[in-house]
Symmetry: C2
Subunit: 290 residues, 2 copies
């Protein structure tokens, strides 16, 4: 497995692979790899000749410096996991590589970034689209794989790629869950034992909504009430948002639901009583389909 | 000479040229081609195997709708000029091709775009960097050629390409001038006879400053006074800006000039007395070198 740190070197390798007629799949990550990431690698391998994983904790997408400082960093384990998963190349650049001295260019998707996580995390998606544009132009992949857990991110990246004519196929992979239903996330590592247990509330809330939907419930308020009731059972869980939206445009869903509907959820797991800090913010989602 | 309208077709052709080991040079234009553009084509031909010219009057870079409406459009003549100049391919997309339905992604260079034309034309450079990013990703050229008349634009595009890791070499070509010194520009076509004569004041002002500089003048105020005096001789000319700046960072030059110094000029040629309208805005520049 090759390890690359410089953009220039990566571009040279990409050109060579393309000249040789081989298809490159890129899996962009921020490291702290878990089975969710490895499912993206699996999918990438089925779709391309070369699987490249990028590992870069992108500072510009953290709206909260504490969150950036706490973000888990496990590069040696990540490299080992990539090797074991048959990854061909890991691109692990420094921040100075990704943001050259004097860098001042941003890529921004203006509308899809406004609701949901965009409201709670100002500047977050600008950081995401800027770094993803850089990664796509550095690795020149034929396809890039993203997880559906970050549903809004996926929609935003698809929009960016289409608008800017980046010649890459964006492929998405379903959410991978722990045995108790919790969506896999690098941030789960920051949960204390009690918070980890209460975090089950997110998946349970989605399940409850889906059950109601399957039973014919099409009233938006009623569905969201089910979601809030489930989250409410976890005393340290505090809803950031729980919303029903159009899965394509992310526009607010109507009161009376009809077509496929995104149920998107962001929840803070607060620190134990008497402790400082904002806690750990988790997101999850499900698309309810008629 | 091939004519292409769709981004997808252009990307397919670019991939084929690249697979065949041929180098592509792109000359992005807004049409209304003049000898200045053709000098870019010449330079492109010396540096690449294929010369591609894009012709697209980009609506998002016009801060003034009147300016967009008046911008000269001469596609049949442009195609003929390209054919005569040995251009291999003209990419003349529709606005719907460049900005697909629902497009909402912008590319922005934050600091270099603040002074000079950025102050007078809010949003202009955002439109430029957005469309140039799209064009570079659509044509996938090895190099792209821009004129030095749009000095700030060139600096902004270089910055954007470097920051986003667009794998393209940006090449610049010197200003081409009419016999009387006026820098060639598509907007010159909008000058009435009297304004055309008075427009000589821009080049004369640059010449006067250069002469003073050559004579050892290093006082910024004194140099700018020379410039203003020359422009002042043209009654319908009104200075938008006349500034001395660092040619790399575009930072304001010191009172006492030392290294290479950019003298940048934007001047409105006002309509004749009694007529409506903002007139025609012309820009010109020179780098004064010790």
């Amino acid at each position: 497995m090759q390890r690359v740190e410089k953009v220039r070197d990566l571009q040279t390798l990409a050109d060579a692979e393309r000249l040789a007629g081989r298809r490159i799949a890129l899996v962009p990550t921020m490291g702290a790899l878990h089975p969710g990431h490895l499912s993206l690698v699996e999918l990438a391998r089925r779709r391309a000749d070369r699987v490249w994983v990028s590992i870069f904790v992108n500072p510009t997408q953290f709206d909260d410096p504490g969150d950036l400082a706490r973000y888990p960093r496990t590069l040696p384990e990540d490299l080992e996991a990539c090797r074991a998963a048959g990854v061909d190349l890991v691109f692990a650049p420094t921040a100075a590589q990704m943001y050259p001295e004097g860098a001042q260019t941003v890529v921004e998707v203006l509308e899809l970034t406004q609701p949901l996580c965009g409201r709670t995390r100002p500047g977050h998606f600008r950081g995401v689209t800027t770094v993803v544009a850089k990664l796509l132009l550095a690795a020149k992949p034929h396809l890039a794989v993203f997880g559906e857990k970050d549903f809004q991110q996926l929609a935003v990246i698809r929009r960016m790629v289409r608008d800017l004519h980046v010649d890459v196929e964006i492929v998405s992979a379903p959410i991978v869950r722990e045995d108790d239903g919790l969506a896999m996330s690098s941030r789960n590592a920051n949960l204390d034992r009690e918070a980890r247990i209460q975090a089950r509330a997110l998946a349970r809330a989605l399940d409850a909504a889906q059950e109601a939907w399957a039973g014919g419930e099409r009233d938006a308020r009623a569905l969201l009430a089910r979601v809030r009731a489930e989250i409410g059972k976890a005393p340290r869980a505090e809803i950031d948002y729980a919303e029903l939206r159009d899965p394509e445009s992310l526009a607010s869903a109507p009161e009376r639901l009809a077509g496929p509907t995104l149920l998107a959820l962001a929840v803070f797991l607060r620190p134990p009583a008497g402790c400082e800090g904002a806690g750990v913010r988790l997101i999850d989602n499900r698309v309810l389909r008629p």
